[in-house]
Amino acid sequence: MRVENSFHVPAGVDESWKIITDVPSLVSCMPGAELTEVAPDGAYRGIARVKIGPVQLQFNGEARLHDLDAKARTMKVRARASDAKGRGNVASEMAFALAPEGERTRVDVVTDLTLTGAVAQYGRGAGLIREVANQFTKDFAANLEAKVRQTAPVRREISLLRLLFRALKSLLRA
């Protein structure tokens, strides 16, 4: 199934790109997720805990970044995970696209999700997966925003510099 989400990062597009491609930092913002290993071939291995009503799933898996385009600011993440207790598997392909929006950056994520096994039938197909994905994205974005704001002093500095630089430029033009 296809899930589309959007969120904003309170930072410029270049900084946002740096943040989004910093996987360990990103994972620390994901609710219920934990990075356990970065394999030599670049695969990120970790655990994601998801609770759907009384069912608590623990997905163990790995993710890889690919098709990074720093100019277009798009990238893809391919992930594969299995429930630790054998209740199913998830395979996902996430496509990220960053676009500047004023002082902020809009991040659009399109996820292609395939669930197999017992988890796939849970919830009578009640659009649960979509809900879980939406909630996950909401929480993730909030955490990411909080994290970025904590580094705000650095950003402010950058802005000041930018302002100074702009001022200088306009002086030179005049």
Binding site: K51, I52, G53, P54, A118, Y122, R124
Partner: protein, 287 residues
């Protein structure tokens, strides 16, 4: 199709059960078992501990004081169904329970269990919503009273902490003569409701609607009160115009799509069932 291994506990008092719920990690409470046992058999849930509440007598029982009804969380659905005094005060309870599973499951299933499990299609939460019931939950240190409108926190996620147990549910029966109806659409008798509607209606001396309560189940993660429709009905006769207004309000709701029905279909069904339920309740209020 067999349960996973767990450590079984069967406390004989509420205090013991609360202590266990407060200290054990990854524990599930076992009430009637009609919803939890299938999940255990499927191994969807994998608790390390199972706290069986069935040997705690103090959690069962129906108490009626005037119009105030208090039912222990472990009260069997069959006990609620058969209770004559309750049927006289709240006849909708018996009518709704006839739709809850089958009589064999109602022999074990409980009121508290149904509320704690909070299946979106469950009828009992809908009946509790009609009465603005309050759910009493306890842990070892405190008691909370939660209005049924605040009970659902998401898909099968009630307003319950891991160390809390539902202990009882309380509501006030409507006073004076009034009508009731519970109607449901399901594929087969006893199946999960695609949409279920409960309605309570009381009329004044001029046969105009004095008070109305309409609740839907099966459309969202928790029961939905149609407050807009209820308000629109007050002071009016229940004529075709009023029914159309109520049905139109029902069709506006946000309804979930799933394997069995689309949101659109649920909205249409909700409109039809709300109309039917109100008509029946009205007939009973007049009669």
């Amino acid at each position: 199709m067999k349960p996973p291994p767990f450590t079984y506990h069967d406390p004989r008092s509420l205090a013991d059960a609360l202590r266990l719920a407060g200290t054990l990690e990854n524990a599930k409470l076992l009430a009637g078992g009609q919803s939890l046992a299938p999940m255990l058999n499927f191994r969807y849930v994998l608790p390390d501990h199972l706290i069986d509440l069935n040997r705690i007598d103090e959690l069962s029982g129906i108490r009626i004081e005037g119009r105030r009804i208090t039912a222990g969380a472990m009260t069997r659905q069959r006990a609620l169904e058969k209770h004559e005094a309750l049927a006289a005060l709240c006849p909708i309870v018996r009518e709704a329970l006839a739709e809850v599973g089958h009589f064999q499951t109602r022999n074990r299933g409980t009121l508290g269990g149904s509320l704690a499990h909070l299946d979106p299609a469950a009828e009992l939460p809908g009946v509790m919503a009609l009465y603005d019931a309050h759910v009493e939950v306890r842990n070892s240190s405190k008691t909370r009273y939660i209005h049924i409108g605040e009970w659902s926190r998401g898909y099968m996620t009630p307003n319950l902490e891991p160390d809390e147990i539902v202990t009882s549910v309380a509501w006030d029966a409507w006073e004076g003569s009034h009508g009731h109806a519970f109607v449901e659409l399901a594929r087969r008798r006893g199946d999960f409701a695609i949409v279920g509607v409960g309605a309570l209606l009381s009329l004044d001396e001029r046969k105009l609607i004095r008070k109305a309560a309409v609740a839907l189940v099966g459309v969202a993660y928790g029961p939905v009160r149609l407050r807009a429709a209820e308000q629109a009905l007050v002071g009016k006769p229940l004529d075709d115009k009023a029914l159309d207004i109520a049905a139109a309000e029902a069709r506006k709701i946000e309804a979930k799509s799933d394997l069995y029905a689309s949101g659109d279909y649920r909205r249409r069904v909700a409109g039809v069932l709300v109309s039917r339920a109100l008509k029946t309740a009205h007939g009973r209020a007049r009669g």
